[in-house]
């Protein structure tokens, strides 16, 4: 099976979440991003690479510098996560529907 990084895995890491927040406000170069963190430049590069691979951030060349900015479309996809919460509620309520049906039957039999 093909192993592929997905956005949720990417976002599970606190440093990557922090990077996303940073560049959501403004596009930044790898150097300016690295300056914000107490980790090595290499470590930050690796995080940016993962974020790029799963399309959460996009690269843009301006002159000699590469700027990273957020990919809004992908972020909206994450909004689907809210749907997960909704699904759990739906599951619970569907269970309740069944319970109510049973209770109604029991009541009618009495």
């Amino acid at each position: 099976m093909e192993t592929r990084r997905d956005a949720f895995q990417a976002i599970a890491d606190p440093t990557r979440r922090a990077i996303l927040l940073l560049i959501a406000a403004q596009s930044m170069t790898p150097n300016t991003i690295a300056e914000e963190f107490h980790t090595s430049r290499q470590a930050v590069s690796k995080h940016i690479q993962i974020l790029t691979e799963c399309e959460l951030v996009k690269q843009e060349k301006k002159g000699r510098e590469i700027y990273y900015h957020i990919n809004g479309n992908k972020i909206n996809e994450i909004d689907k996560w809210v749907e997960q919460f909704k699904k759990i509620l739906e599951t619970q309520f569907a269970q309740l529907d069944k319970v109510l049906l049973t209770l109604k039957k029991q009541k009618n039999e009495k």
């Binding site: 956005a7 949720f8 976002i11 599970a12 979440r17 996303l20 927040l21 959501a24 406000a25 957020i70 809004g72 972020i75 994450i78 909004d79 996560w81 809210v82 997960q84 919460f85 909704k86 759990i88 509620l89 739906e90 599951t91 619970q92 309520f93 269970q95 309740l96 529907d97 069944k98 319970v99 109510l100 049906l101 209770l103 109604k104 009541k107």
Partner: protein, 166 residues
């Protein structure tokens, strides 16, 4: 069973409010019991294959429900709820918080406001959740959705920033 029962779910990120409306094909007194009696609550409040186990429940103002959601592997996630207001078959309010197994609540919790009404044998339940922490929601979801560790918190922040830019 009717399939056209209403289900609305709205998350207002700015005010940390979640509004849920759901209709049930049953009379009001039955639905009220389903939300307020421990033996019925335990039959539906944990999404399968998790099960709900209520250690005790005292449905009076100031009373509490202390219960666990238990995974098939036996992992327990404890929750404590305190009932702050009860108007029989109409409304009740509670404070909801995660807890440890010794009943120590992880404060602050969220406030849940339940409203019940019946029309033509269909009971509508409207639930408003105030001050829901998306971190807390995530904890709950993490238990149910293995590998799903994304936080709603970050989403909330990102969406706020993105909407400002537009």
């Amino acid at each position: 069973m009717k399939n056209n029962l209403q289900f609305d779910f709205t998350v207002t990120k700015a005010t940390k409010t979640v509004i849920i409306t759901r209709e049930f094909d049953a009379e009001l007194s039955l639905v009220w019991d389903a939300f307020t009696k421990q033996e019925i609550l335990d039959q539906w409040t944990a999404p399968a294959p998790w099960v709900s186990k209520t250690k005790y429940m005292n449905f009076i103002v100031g009373g509490k429900r202390f219960y666990a959601m238990v995974s098939p592997e036996g992992q327990e996630r404890w929750l404590i709820q305190e009932f702050t207001s009860i108007s029989p078959k109409t409304n009740f309010k509670m404070l909801n918080a995660f807890a440890d197994k010794d009943e120590n609540a992880e404060l602050p919790g969220s406030e849940w406001d339940y409203n019940f009404s019946e029309q033509n044998g269909i009971t509508k339940v409207s639930i408003t959740i105030f001050n829901e922490s998306f971190d807390r929601m995530e904890q709950l979801l993490e238990g149910f959705q293995q590998g799903f560790t994304m936080t709603l918190n970050i989403l909330e922040n990102l969406l706020a920033i993105l909407s400002k830019r537009q």
